[in-house]
Amino acid sequence: MDRIPILQMGRALLITIQVDMHDSLAMALEEDLTTKIASTNAKGVLIDISSLEIVDSFIGRMLDNIAAVSRMMDAETVVVGMRPAVAITLVELGLSLSGVKTALNVDRGMSLIQKRLHDYELDDDSQPE
């Protein structure tokens, strides 16, 4: 079964969602992510949804779950690349994704995460203890 690859970018982890997600894939992603946050001491999680034409309540729940789990492990989640049509539909659906920060693209998302690292006086280059 396919699993979604998780890339490491400095103190952040980047996930690009391009395929239609179903239950087992979503579960696998959450597991892999939790493991990797721990092993890399990541402080940020970037989820790129710029390829998604549809975000329904299932995906919304998944994003919220990932954000909640990451937060518990001291990592901030930023969802990037949401398409206008998707945003309009989500608003109509009533999904606020309140536990998640958003940014227009990966660059902006990384800036958000850097800012948080800076706020906590954590240098991006510092090695984990």
């Binding site: 179903h22 549809i54 329904d56 309540s57 109509e92 659906l93 009533g94």
Partner: protein, 134 residues
């Protein structure tokens, strides 16, 4: 009103939900719905299809292109022989923030559609109709 060109899809697995989305998307493009309207009806269909699978024990989705004079529309009817929904009103009004539950998909799907109809009998099954007009 004349309904034409039916396509019946079985919903028995997660892959079928994906297929429903693809077919609805294709038909929506065919009748010339705007990108936002396409997204709305495909998302609504996705919500109901997932419900049909998760709570209805599987079922069918019938996709129809509608014509009312010059106007074109798209209708999807979901049917299952599942346990049915006990409290329809509550199911329709539940917001996302209350967490899991049937209400999640139904209320949202209704807001995303031009027309919405739901019929359910306990122990017999559920039928949901959504449509989007151009």
């Amino acid at each position: 009103m004349i309904a034409s060109r039916n396509e019946v899809l079985a919903i028995g697995s997660a892959d079928d939900v994906v297929r429903v989305r693809q077919v609805v998307r294709t038909k929506a493009i065919e009748i010339g719905l705007s990108l936002v309207d396409q997204t709305k009806i495909v998302t609504a269909a996705s919500e109901i299809a997932r419900n049909t699978l998760a709570y209805g024990g599987g079922g069918t989705a019938t996709v129809e292109v509608l014509e009312n004079g010059e106007r074109k529309g798209l209708r999807v009817v979901f049917e299952d022989q599942g346990p049915g929904i006990a409290d329809l009103e509550r199911a329709l009004s539940d917001g996302y923030t209350t967490g899991k539950g049937l209400g999640l998909g139904l209320g949202g799907a209704k807001r995303l559609s031009s027309e919405f109809d739901i019929r359910s009998t306990l122990g017999k099954g559920t039928r949901v109709m959504i449509s989007r007009w151009k």
